[in-house]
Every structure is written in structure tokens, then in C-alpha cells.
């Protein structure tokens, strides 16, 4: 069972949770949304600057567990520079990865570290929260979204 823990908390995840990339507000953001996981108190705000159908800049802020912070941090790295139309597809593959341990279509390699999450059903919401929030931001939804 300690193997499971090592699978869940891979070095990359611990590193991103301690030193999240693109952390902070994005003054030039065109889109943003808030996400919450009421069960454990994860809260994040995601900012996107969309230009010409591309994510030109992305950042997040908030507090949460190691899994949700690392997921948000890796999401920002993944989305940076991507066409907006790819985001929903990424969300869906990420969802498969964290619930079943594998995606159907290939995902950017760095997201593979989240495969271990599927052995921890209570942590799936933490990993997927930033991705839900990204979709909400693209819709510019005003109400905070929650995983409950």
C-alpha cells in the first residue's frame, strides 16, 4: 500500500505542489472562474487570456491539497499556447486517466503522473477540479463551480 502512495504522490506532483508554476493573478485575463471542493476546502481561481482562439496566458491562485495544486500547476503548463478547442478533449482524457488509470487518446506526457489517483477514489475530485474550473472559465461562468 505504500507503493500506492508512491504512485499517487510522485516526485513531479510533490514538486509542482510545493512550487506551482504560473501561480498568481493574471491582470490581462479575458476569462476566469472559481472552483471549490467543499469536502476538503480546496479553492482555486483560474485565469485565462484568450487571443485568436488560443490560450495566450494562463495562471491560477488559491489553496488546496498537493493533488489539486499540482494538477492546477500542470494544467497551466499544458494549456499555455494551446488552441481553445482542444481544452474539452483534454479534460475528458484527464477524467479517464484519474478515474481509470489510463486515457483513451494520448495525453501530454507530463499529465501521466496522475494515473495513480484512480486508486484513491476520494482524491479524484482534487485532481479534476482545476480542469472543471478551466471549462467554467472558458464559459466565463460567474458562479463558483464545485465538485459536489
Amino acid at each position: 500500500m505504500l507503493d500506492d502512495l508512491n504512485d499517487l504522490y510522485q516526485q513531479v506532483i510533490l514538486d509542482h505542489s510545493r512550487n506551482p508554476r504560473h501561480f498568481g493573478k493574471l491582470p490581462e485575463a479575458t476569462h476566469s472562474a472559481q472552483g471549490r471542493n467543499p469536502l476538503c476546502g480546496d479553492e482555486l481561481t483560474l485565469y485565462l487570456k484568450i487571443n485568436d482562439g488560443r490560450v495566450e496566458a494562463v495562471s491560477f491562485e488559491g489553496s488546496g491539497c498537493a493533488i489539486s495544486r499540482a494538477s492546477a500547476s500542470l494544467l497551466t503548463e499544458t494549456l499555455q499556447g494551446r488552441p481553445v478547442e482542444e481544452v474539452r478533449g483534454l479534460f475528458e482524457e484527464m477524467h479517464k486517466l484519474v478515474t481509470h488509470g489510463r486515457s483513451e487518446k494520448p495525453l501530454p506526457e507530463k499529465l501521466a503522473v496522475f494515473a495513480g489517483v484512480h486508486k484513491f477514489p476520494s482524491r479524484v475530485k482534487c485532481a479534476i477540479l482545476p480542469w472543471h474550473t478551466a471549462l467554467a472559465a472558458l464559459d466565463n461562468r460567474k458562479e463558483p463551480i464545485t465538485t459536489e
Binding site: 510533490l14 480546496d42 498537493a66
Partner: protein, 429 residues
């Protein structure tokens, strides 16, 4: 003569038993669920503030009811229905005795403490709360003793006031209590033991201060009822709420204690069958308490289980349960200080710290702590513990919580400390 001597003898025996320290190793045999392993490790169940495990006596009582005595209550005039009614009403009488209520009719069965508080907040406020009045609460309330009063205040045009919690030790500011207990406050509702901080509040003193000023009191005893001796007349409260599942009983059953005069004066809450006297197509009159507040078919087997739970606790002795929990808490508080980077909330000593200990690492989120120690067999709760305003005040998004009960041992407290040390090493905190 002889009879008297025997009686004295048996009383002495009881007193001797009461004086003896509780032996959790023996008690664990009554709780089959405690004997299992999780993730290949012995289960160390430390989430008793959320719900306790059930002893065989309770499981058997429920099973026995369904196997032999099951029928609806207060309806049939056949033998089986009599037996079911008797079992249900006997459970009420046992619960009344457990709390030292003046009579069984002062016990209303509900689904849980939450429903008990909702009942009081609705019915009492309908009759006694008006525009400009205030309800006094504390900053450490469980959402269950906050949200129902928000709703009641909104309906009545009344407002809420709060006794502040001082510092990370989490004690009520008693000077502010004195200052706040005056008009327009009509009712003071507070938790006896905080589920998030472990603080034992001076309930009798709080009720006395309120009573002197003609203010009605409600004690949320969800975290105290199965853990320490509790006597509503000694406390001097007007209402008291408890949940069966937090004191060895089944889920789906709780109770509201209320003084008879209040129950007489309050309008019903839910309405329908079982709670009426006369019904015409246009209007109805109510049955006397407690039935006035128990609409529809109640949780009969749940009540029977609750009755068995309070019997079980009385047999063990709540004084001994309390002493055991305080000793274990004092031991754990002491040992937890060894864990580097761990921040402890709530009082520094037991008492006034009851058996629920909240803590967090400066650099590891509570949710990660809970996931990690679970893989080592230790069941903790992580989160805001249904006390978001309090968490905001403590300045943390979440804490982890270990909560003890009569069957927890020092070895389990040691296992907790070990698991937290391992967590710290793993996350490099």
C-alpha cells in the same frame, strides 16, 4: 434486614466498578468492526466524532426487533403491535433516564441531532421569536447548530449574535457571554463539546447565566452525550439535542429533549399521521407531546437500537468513559508535541479538551495527511468539520482530526503519532 444488607452490598459493588479504570482491550471485544484490517494494517479507528462503531448489544437489539417484534406503533390493537409500541416507548423511557429528564414525554425522537435542532429552531421560533429579537450562538458551532437558526431568524425578522472564540485554544469568551446575555436575546444555543476544537464548554454555567436573565437555552450535545455523564436537570437547559450514531447507536435516530412547558406551548413541526388528536377536512388538533412532534411512522428499530446503546453505556459507566477519554487525550496531546511542524488546535490540557483533537502541518494539507495515514490503517477526518466560520477564524482551510472513544487505546494513540511522523518524513515537512 438481610435485603437491605444485600442492597448495600450491591451498591458498593457498583461503586467499586465505577471507580475502576476502563479497560479498552476488553471493551473492543464488544465491537466486531474494530477487529478488521485495512490496507493490510490493523484498523485504528479515530473518527468517532463523525460516528462511533456499534457494539454487538445494539446490533442484536435491532436484529431481535425485526425478527420478533416488528409491527407499526400506536396503531394496532393486536399483540405484535403492542410489543412494538412497548419496545419503542421503552426506548424513550430509557433515553429519558439516560438524560435524567423529568418524564419520557420530554424526549422527542428525531433522525439525528440536526433534525432535533431544526425542530426546536422551527417550532420554538414560530411561537416565541419576533421582529427585533435575537438568538445568541457561538463562533464554534457546527453548521447544524447555525443554519437552522439563520433560517428561523430570517422568518421572524430576528437577528443572530455570536459569542467569540478566543485564540487557537478555542475557548468561549466568558466576559462577552455575560455582556451578550441580555435583551434582545431570547435564546442561547451552544455546543457542549466542539467537534472541531475539542473544547468542553462550561454548559451548566452558561445555562445558569442564561436562566438568570430569562433566556431559553439549547445545548447541542452531539459530541458529549455518549462521552460523559449528562443530566439535563443538573445542566438546567431547556433543550438538548443528540444523535444516536455518535453514542454507539444506529444511524437515523436522534433525540430532542425539551421541557414539557415548552413542548406544550410550541406548535407542531411536521404534520400528518400519528401526531393528531381530531382531524376534520378543514382543521386538526394535536396529540399531546411527545407525539405532537413525531409525525408519521417513526424509526422504530432505530429507537430500539438507541435504547440498547444507552443501556450499554450505562452498564460501562459514563464517568469511566469520560475519565478514559480525558486520560487518552492528555496522553495523545503530549505525544503529538513530538511531531515537528504540527500545529495543535483547541485547549492545551484535557480537560477542558475532550477526545477530539484537531491539528495541521504547516506545509502539508489536511487532505494529504488523511490519505497518507489511511494507507497505514489510521482513520482520521480532514476538512472543515462543518464549521467553516471557525476555520476562517483559525485561518486554515482545513484541519485533520483524531477523535477517541471508549474502545481506543494508548497503542492507537502511539500508532497515530507514528503515522504522522511517517507522513512528515514522506512529504519532507
Amino acid at each position: 434486614m438481610r435485603e437491605q444488607a444485600t442492597k448495600r452490598g450491591s451498591e458498593e459493588q457498583t461503586n467499586k466498578a465505577a471507580a475502576e479504570a476502563l479497560r479498552p482491550e476488553a471493551i473492543r471485544k464488544d465491537f466486531p468492526a474494530l477487529g478488521q484490517t485495512v490496507h493490510g494494517r490493523p484498523l485504528v479507528y479515530l473518527d468517532n466524532a463523525a460516528t462511533t462503531q456499534r457494539p454487538l448489544a445494539v446490533i442484536e437489539a435491532i436484529r431481535g426487533f425485526y425478527l420478533r417484534d416488528n409491527a407499526n406503533v400506536h396503531r394496532g390493537s393486536y399483540d405484535l403491535s403492542h410489543r412494538a409500541t412497548e419496545a419503542y416507548e421503552a426506548a424513550r423511557a430509557r433515553t429519558a433516564r439516560f438524560l435524567n429528564a423529568a418524564e419520557p414525554a420530554e424526549i422527542i425522537f428525531t433522525r439525528n441531532a440536526t433534525e432535533a435542532i431544526n425542530l426546536a429552531a422551527f417550532s420554538w421560533s414560530e411561537r416565541f421569536l419576533g421582529p427585533g429579537d435575537a438568538i445568541l450562538l457561538t463562533e464554534m458551532e457546527h453548521h447544524s447548530n447555525l443554519v437552522p437558526w439563520q433560517m428561523a431568524a430570517r422568518r421572524a425578522g430576528a437577528r443572530l449574535l455570536f459569542v467569540p472564540v478566543t485564540g487557537p485554544e478555542g475557548l468561549l469568551d466568558m466576559d462577552r457571554v455575560q455582556a451578550l446575555l441580555r435583551p434582545p436575546v431570547k435564546l442561547f444555543a451552544f455546543t457542549h463539546v466542539s467537534n472541531a476544537l475539542g473544547t468542553i464548554n462550561p454548559a451548566a454555567e452558561l445555562c445558569r447565566l442564561a436562566r438568570q436573565r430569562g433566556i431559553v437555552t439549547l445545548v447541542d450535545a452531539a459530541q458529549s452525550a455518549g462521552h460523559m455523564p449528562l443530566d439535563v436537570r443538573e445542566l438546567g437547559c431547556d433543550f438538548l439535542a443528540l444523535s444516536g450514531h455518535k453514542l454507539c447507536g444506529p444511524t437515523g435516530i436522534g433525540a430532542l429533549y425539551a421541557k414539557r412547558e415548552l413542548l406544550e406551548a410550541m406548535p407542531p413541526w411536521q404534520t400528518g399521521g400519528e401526531m393528531i388528536d381530531q382531524v376534520t377536512l378543514d382543521q386538526s388538533s394535536w396529540a399531546p407531546p411527545p407525539h405532537k412532534f413525531e409525525a408519521g411512522t417513526p424509526n422504530i428499530a432505530g429507537a430500539v437500537g438507541l435504547g440498547a446503546a444507552v443501556d450499554y453505556l450505562e452498564r460501562i459507566g459514563r464517568e469511566r468513559v469520560f475519565r478514559h477519554e480525558l486520560e487518552l487525550t492528555a496522553y495523545a496531546l503530549d505525544r503529538l508535541k513530538e511531531v515537528k511542524g504540527l500545529r495543535l488546535f483547541g485547549p492545551k490540557t484535557a480537560p477542558p479538551h475532550a477526545g477530539a483533537i484537531s491539528f495541521c502541518f504547516e506545509t502539508i494539507h489536511a487532505h494529504d495527511v488523511v490519505t497518507f495515514v489511511d494507507r497505514l490503517g489510521v482513520a482520521l477526518r480532514g476538512g472543515h468539520h462543518c464549521a467553516q466560520p471557525l476555520m476562517r477564524k483559525l485561518g486554515v482551510p482545513a484541519t485533520a482530526r483524531a477523535s477517541f472513544y471508549l474502545y481506543n487505546t494508548r497503542q492507537e494513540a502511539d500508532a497515530l503519532v507514528e503515522a504522522l511522523q511517517e507522513t512528515r518524513r514522506f512529504f519532507g515537512a
